[in-house]
Symmetry: C2
Subunit: 357 residues, 2 copies
């Protein structure tokens, strides 16, 4: 494990994105999005993925100079065509479209096709906050998750992020996979040689397992809830809604057809759409009531929940977004720790492209 | 257990609602909504609740002749003031406003204050289907649920319903509490003297319990996920989002201030808003792509998921809405079974008001 400053990692990532041909403005925003994951502790979606994006670009599956554009629209909706661009760049473009529409008619809703992995869901939803809007960010992803009663992997970890502004309190920011646990947590347990709790994984035959290698060995992640008795049909429905809003509305690939994020696996033949899909929403809070009134009540909501009496052994009730915000402050000051294999991978990447890590 | 035809129960419920002073058109829609729960198997939200509504009306907490109206709006949003009306009547009014806005600008989003319990969430979201729109229906409810690490009940079971039209396939209709299990399931286990699975309930000290009386005895329902290790912070975040969209946007009561549905408990002093809150959305699918194209892809999505290989011991993968639709067909034909205490309660209610059960 080595620690790097935010500036070091930002300079390197920006340099790499320019090197593969991204316009400077795209390299800047793409780097901001990618590193936001490292700062907020979603390490699996941060700079550790940079070489994955580069390999997809080398395969011709990511377009470094895309013509990202609105391909269809109404006053409150749009479809954005990502032109195979980096999701890290396509997503902020689409979220801006949603925000502009909200300025005009109260809300904006944008479904995106022909994109790639968009990094951390919460970056995009949080773009709405400075405009006194509620932001929503959803994306589908490569199939790793088995619906309730399914042996097959048909859904991605399909996250939901919702960011809501407050007044004196920091904002409410939910950002969660619709599975019991994200794939990154399995990787941590694998490295430590530990088992998973129940309800996280099934094996290749579709039986419950606590092996942290369960997904690697042909099994699947389980929807939030874990099994039918604990509500997995609800996690499955949530993941399905994310898939449909992101891809069936836009014309992207859905379900098992979502192209794999890794360059060594080819997309399925006979695709049903273009690239992967996202969905964004922006709602002006003053399209419902005066913004100041809304934000004061959010403060009251947050203060009441944060001061609730706790269960034995726990110090306080958290507000969604609290842990990530606290970690961001620490990592901005003390640096971002990277695992040795990630450092090696980035060093090699830098050498190969002549960008100093 | 006795079985009654849909027509019998409809006639009685309609008669009762007219008796307490509802205009005929309101009594008709209110009855349709209430009985939709019985048909679809959400028995705890159906005719079994009729006497609860009547008692709230007797206490002056439900207004049988409300002036339900839009109190604020933009092209894509509105706030509806329910004027303390039956949620069964206020909710369809608000959903119609959302649908009209979607016709004009692509989508419509309506937050509701000053309402009461709105019955089954799925009735309202499904109103969008015949217009080739996606329907969304959320509501907050009396506090029975403890957020992760909280000993206190701060949220309701706050359901999420999303209805999505298909072409030749029946629609996708998710309708779920954001808890591991709904309160109605606890009541079934109580009657049978059985324990709950893990992850459903905590006791009054905030410790996990499998007692089906846990909530009755001062404990709480748990958010979807059950505990932190199994993702309860996600269920908590979902329930919180439903609460904020339904009540902080509209000016209704939120969190622990949501008034109890039962007449024998008074609302808290110093309320933070008016009544309970709901939130509705309608999105025209052709605000994103041609409706026929969208619906054909939905058919493909549904067929692929329904034909997936299954886990051991399970016959097929279900699409959200399948079980409720199948039960609705059966109950429409064979009648609706009611438990003896419910029959007794309704008989007494009818006698008291001179409406034949």
């Amino acid at each position: 494990m080595q620690t790097f400053s935010y500036e070091q990692l930002h300079r390197f990532t920006y340099g790499m994105l320019v090197k593969i041909g991204c316009p400077e403005v795209d390299a800047k925003i793409g780097t901001d999005v990618l590193l936001s994951a490292d700062l907020r502790g979603v390490d699996s979606h941060g700079v550790a993925r940079l070489s994955g994006y580069v390999r997809l670009w080398e395969k011709g599956r990511i377009n470094a100079k895309p013509n990202v554009h609105v391909s269809y629209e109404t006053p409150s909706t749009a479809v954005v065509d990502g032109d195979s661009g980096l999701g890290l760049v396509v997503a902020p473009f689409a979220m801006k479209v949603a925000i502009e529409k909200a300025k005009n008619v109260g809300t904006g809703w944008v479904s995106v096709k022909n994109s790639n992995h968009y990094g951390i869901a919460g970056y995009h939803s949080m773009m709405a906050l400075e405009h006194d809007m509620i932001g929503i960010s959803l994306t589908n992803a490569s199939p790793l998750v088995a619906p309730t009663f399914s042996r097959e992997r048909l859904l991605g970890t399909n996250p939901i992020s919702v960011a809501i502004p407050a007044k004196n309190q920091p904002p409410f920011v939910a950002d969660m996979a619709t599975t019991t646990a994200a794939n990154g947590k399995l990787e941590i347990l694998q490295r430590k040689g530990l088992d998973t709790p129940t309800g996280w994984v099934q094996d290749k035959d579709g039986s419950p397992t606590t092996s942290a290698n369960g997904v690697k060995d042909g099994g699947a992640l389980l929807p939030l809830g874990g099994d039918r008795e604990h509500g997995s049909h609800k996690g499955y429905a949530l993941g399905a809604i994310v898939d449909i809003f992101s891809a069936v509305l836009s014309g992207a690939n859905y379900g098992p057809w979502v192209p794999p994020f890794v360059a060594f696996l080819d997309p399925l033949p006979n695709l049903v759409g273009e690239g992967i899909g996202h969905f964004f929403g922006a709602m002006r809070v003053d399209a419902f009531r005066p913004a100041d009134e809304f934000k004061s009540h959010m403060d009251n909501w947050i203060e009441r929940f944060r001061s609730a009496e706790t269960t034995p052994g726990n110090e306080k009730v958290l507000i969604p977004g609290d842990p990530e915000r606290e970690l961001e402050a620490i990592r901005m000051k003390e640096g971002i720790p990277l695992l040795d294999p990630v450092v090696k991978d980035l060093t090699e990447l830098g050498e190969r492209f002549g960008v100093k890590f």
